[in-house]
């Protein structure tokens, strides 16, 4: 009667390249907005609260999920992501209830990737087994650094040893793990970073995210930086670190499938691939963003970000939607480019056609496209538009130029 469903996940194309655009999948993102302590560099929607009413939060998240489910019901869900904040502080029962409800209201793929972000402290590690039971099959740990002084500087609540212990426990509890490191910290040299990275690789991760310390407005780090107190590595050092990271990890079989994400083939984060491939995703919980095709039109959704206001709104309206805007063609053109060029696989022609009904040649000014190709920053072939390694190293400027 119907064709066999396509596999829920397609790994990024190999060098040879597939002729068909990969299915971007459909993901559900759940935001947990609480942390034990606010890190001085962080501008995510995270808050510190003395007490959290876990029952109320579970009911409210379920309510918001139900609200959206009525509009998107029946869609096949290829991934779930519990992000934060620190979702490992969530009661495992909450994760359980949400996963069960998603399975009930949507078509949850058997091989769906279900990720939990976790802070690598002993407290959270104790809960790993219960999260696993709830259905979580992948964990992403915020290790951040493997140097105790750096961890203290970053305001973290754990030591390097504690983090490594948590990684090992996670390894035992979950089929797939990943961890985050923050590089380009003040005072870092390519040599000191190489040592830290080597130590991280001893854990044998199949997926690792390497973020560069970004000074975000409104954070305590921003204030110190403005006062000239942060001695960040210069451009030259940063690019050396960036390039060396790519090489070291590639030598260990971890490919930079995205600007800051590295994985052995098949271990890529499917949920994040949905973002980068500009697929649809549902976002619930405070401050969650979504991209949903409703009535044939792609919408940008955003939920109320203040936790208490979110709760209240869900209590009265069943959801806390703050924005639900149809996206204009030019906005979609910008978004697909901003996200897709971060991927090594680039943006498939079919994806441009799917979202914008046009080929890249018709979407970008010829002069800009040609200049970027000539300079060796972009490639455009029969299948896809992609940034080269040189292009990805300067991706902001490339995208800037491309979009005019």
């Amino acid at each position: 009667m119907t064709a066999a469903p396509a596999p829920a996940f397609e790994a990024p194309a190999s060098e040879a390249g597939s002729h068909r655009a990969p299915d971007p999948g459909f993901g559900v993102y759940v935001h947990w907005p609480f942390c034990l302590k606010k890190c001085p560099y962080c501008d995510f929607n995270s808050h510190v609260r003395n007490a959290v009413d876990h029952d109320l939060w579970r009911r409210s998240l379920l309510a918001e999920l139900d609200h959206y489910a009525s509009e998107t019901a029946g869609r096949r869900v290829s991934s779930i992501f519990f992000g934060g904040g620190t979702p490992s502080l969530m009661a495992p029962a909450t994760a359980q209830a949400l996963i069960d409800r998603i399975a009930e209201r949507f078509d949850l793929a058997d091989d769906a990737e279900i990720t939990l972000e976790a802070n690598p402290t002993s407290v959270e590690a104790e809960k790993f087994a219960r999260f696993r039971q709830a259905g979580v099959n992948r964990v992403s740990l915020g290790v951040q650094a493997l140097d105790d002084r750096a961890l203290a500087f970053l305001g973290r609540q754990h030591s390097a040893d504690e983090a490594l212990a948590a990684v090992e426990l996670a390894r035992k509890a979950f089929p797939r793990i990943s961890f985050d490191l923050i590089t380009a910290r003040p005072g870092m040299t390519p040599a000191s970073w190489a040592g830290e990275l080597a130590r991280a690789l001893e854990e044998g991760p199949e997926h690792i995210s390497i973020y560069q310390l970004t000074i975000e407005p409104g954070t305590p780090f921003h204030a110190s930086w403005r006062r000239g107190e942060l001695d960040l590595p210069d451009d030259e050092t940063q690019s050396a670190i960036f390039e060396a990271t790519g090489q070291t990890l590639a030598a260990r079989g971890l490919n930079a499938y995205e600007v800051s994400n590295h994985a052995v083939p098949g271990a890529e984060s499917r949920h994040n691939l949905t973002y980068w491939r500009y697929g649809d995703y549902l976002g619930i919980g405070p401050g969650a963003h979504g991209r949903l095709t409703l009535g044939g039109v792609k919408h940008a959704t955003r939920q109320h970000s203040a936790p208490e206001a979110w709760l209240e709104s869900v209590g009265t309206h069943g959801h806390a939607t703050r924005a639900r805007d149809p996206l204009a063609a030019d906005q979609k053109r910008q978004e697909i480019t901003l996200m897709g060029l971060r991927l090594a696989e680039g943006i498939h022609r079919d994806a441009f056609v799917r979202e914008l009904g046009a080929q890249p040649e018709a979407l970008f000014e010829a002069g800009r496209l040609d200049a970027l190709r000539e300079a060796g920053y972009l490639t455009l072939d029969a299948q896809r538009l992609a940034a080269t390694a040189a292009g990805r190293l300067r991706l902001n400027a490339v995208i800037d130029h491309l979009l005019g």
């Binding site: 993102y29 973020y211 970004t214 600007v259 800051s260 973002y275 963003h289 300067r394």
Partner: protein, 600 residues
């Protein structure tokens, strides 16, 4: 109308920074023109630019009531004037409205170039001059020496010079008393036909054109039908009054009064400074002498950063010119920059100030091209063309000779720095005319090509003399020179807005310097940028700006694409400050900055 016998009209003149505006502050306080609460330093410097730079740009008038030691009240019309050479036109205009002036000399610095220049202006106008030594509170003050200088260098009797500190207020009352005693009251018959000088004018958003006038004879009041003898404009007066310093409505202005007239003038061209205002019903026989038009010596192109702003720029230039008759403008078209205006100024500071005022007061984004002087090109066909813009240089084949303007520059400097000054002048093709000493200070006079002076001479002079030299100049005449056009190319494209005319002997060095400077000014971008300087097609210097090494945000990219998109849009906003040349973006500020030379 005030009692003429009890009126004193005077200007405060001095070299830059010798304390004119500060002395005006003390007088305002002494006469209680401003409440203590509203008082602030250099009260009359009310433009933001003046306050930021700490200099006076526009002459300002204030009317004060002074109670003298003889028990009588006197009306003072005080004009605070600017000291910088580029604004000397403001001084000469102000002096026409006065019977006397206070010559302020910094007792620690002594007589400087603008002191001299301003004294000569005052003597030209037959004004009573009261010499005053200021800043006697400073430990470095040396009144004896400075008095001697006043006698030696200026030739003015300084035995009666007053010693004051405008800062502490010491001696200020002696100044006001001398004003009462030494400056003559204004003459003029109130019954005669109206004859008034249009001293200044500006545009007020609510009131339209406001005219500042000095009445010489007759009277003007609301209802008077006034005629401008020069522009022939005819208007009914709505309001008259004075600045005390707040604008204060009055009933009538008579001889000796320095006040304003509002008369519904809409067309800004109708209010030309220097014009004579009379009463249409009872006109005066002859116009006043008026002002000598100022002659711009530095020219540059001003272009709106976005082409839609062209009309707005024209309107703004018109309004600004009303307030500053010493600059000129005419439409110009550049292949690189589109439609804009060729503007003439009295100097580089003047240029900078006009540019900044346009940007701030009229909210415009501007591109300024390289400043240039006027060259005279003798063509082989016998024709002579005046060249205001290097891009208009005729083909070499058609040029017989090029002449450039020269100036006569007077520099005063402590003799320890004399060597540096002489070297600078020689490097700039100067020819020494005179060298004299007064104590341990030297006065040198040089003939210099103006184009060697316009960009950065003044800055250089300040830096090689630790700020101790002062400088003044007059136009002298045209002389032939071996001049060539230096083109600047960015990625092989000629950028007309950066072209300049230089002496052949300096062309190469200049080309190298501009290329180096541009290399610093053009931010690294995605593509390599080649910068070249060429003379008649031959490349004499080159520099390369390498491509950006790294520019990527390696942060956790969640589902918040909206934020990324907004960031992108914000960046685009920022790009408006850049001009696109092929693939290359040049910051607007570079067009002027590229030509300012660093200390070598």
């Amino acid at each position: 109308m005030t009692d003429q016998q009890h009126t004193r009209n005077f200007a405060i003149i001095a070299h830059i920074d010798h304390g004119k505006s500060t002395l005006a502050d003390r007088m305002i306080q002494l006469c209680e023109g401003v409440s203590e609460r509203d008082m602030r330093e250099q009260f009359l410097d009310n433009m933001d630019l003046e306050r930021e730079r700490g200099i006076t740009i526009k002459a300002q008038t204030v009317r004060l009531t002074y109670r003298a030691r003889d028990g009588q009240a006197y009306t003072f019309n005080v004009i605070d004037t600017p000291g910088h050479v580029d604004f000397s036109y403001e001084v000469s205009r102000s002096l026409k409205a006065c019977e006397g002036c206070i010559l302020l000399v910094d007792a620690s610095q002594g007589v400087e170039a603008q002191t001299l220049a301003n004294v000569y202006l005052a003597l030209d106008h037959d004004l009573e001059i009261i010499p005053v030594l200021n800043k006697v509170d400073l430990p470095a003050a040396d009144p004896e020496r400075v008095m001697q200088e006043i006698e030696d260098v200026i030739g003015l009797d300084a035995t009666d010079a007053l010693l004051i500190s405008a800062k502490t207020g010491q001696g200020v009352e002696d100044v006001t008393e001398s004003i009462v005693q030494r400056i003559p009251p204004p003459a003029g018959d109130p019954q005669a036909p109206l004859k008034a000088l249009l001293v200044d004018s500006w545009y007020d958003q609510y009131m339209g054109v406001i005219v500042l006038t000095r009445v010489m004879e007759g009277r003007v009041k609301p209802g008077t039908q006034i005629r401008m003898l020069g522009t022939r404009a005819l208007h009914d007066v709505n309001e008259v009054g004075t600045f005390q310093p707040a604008r204060t409505k009055g009933e009538v202005l008579g001889p000796g009064d320095l006040g304003y007239i509002i008369s519904g003038i809409k067309d800004i061209d109708e209010a030309q400074v220097g014009d004579t205002i009379t009463d249409e019903k009872n006109p005066c026989a002859k116009p006043l002498e008026g002002y000598k038009p100022s002659v711009p010596v530095v020219f540059c192109g001003l272009f709106p950063a976005s082409t839609e702003d062209y009309e707005q720029l024209r309107d703004a230039l018109g309004k600004l010119r009303l307030n500053d008759s010493s600059f000129q403008f005419e439409p110009e078209n550049s292949p690189a920059l589109g439609f804009g205006f060729r503007c003439g100024f009295l100097g580089l500071l003047h240029l900078e100030i006009v540019q900044e005022r346009l940007e701030r007061e009229y909210d415009l984004d501007l591109i300024t091209t390289a400043p240039s002087v006027i060259y005279r090109v003798m063509k082989t066909n016998g024709e002579m063309v005046e060249l205001h813009n290097p891009t208009d240089m005729p083909d070499r084949m058609h040029i017989e000779a090029i002449e450039e303007p020269w100036i006569r520059a007077t520099i005063l400097v402590p003799d320890t720095y004399l060597g540096n000054v002489l070297k600078l002048c020689e490097d700039r093709r100067g020819i020494q005319q005179d060298l004299t000493y007064a104590g341990d200070r030297a006065m040198v006079v040089y003939q210099l090509p103006l184009n060697e002076v316009v960009y950065d001479f003044y800055d250089r002079l300040k830096s090689i003399t630790s700020g101790y030299a002062s400088f003044d100049y007059q136009m002298e005449g045209y002389h032939e020179g071996d001049l060539v056009k230096l083109d600047i190319l960015v990625n092989q494209e000629r950028v007309d807005a950066l072209a300049l005319i230089v002496h052949r002997s300096q062309a190469e060095g200049r080309g190298r310097a501009v290329c180096e400077k541009l290399k610093e000014l053009i931010p690294r971008q995605l593509f390599k940028v080649a910068i070249q300087a060429a003379i008649g097609g031959k490349v004499v210097a080159r520099e390369t700006v390498p491509a950006v090494r790294k520019d990527v945000t390696a942060k956790c990219y969640g589902g918040d694409v909206t934020r990324k998109r907004k960031l992108l849009e914000k960046q685009k906003e920022g790009k408006k400050k850049m001009r696109q040349f092929g693939k290359v973006e040049i910051p607007q500020s570079a067009f002027l900055a590229a030509l300012k030379m660093d200390d070598q």
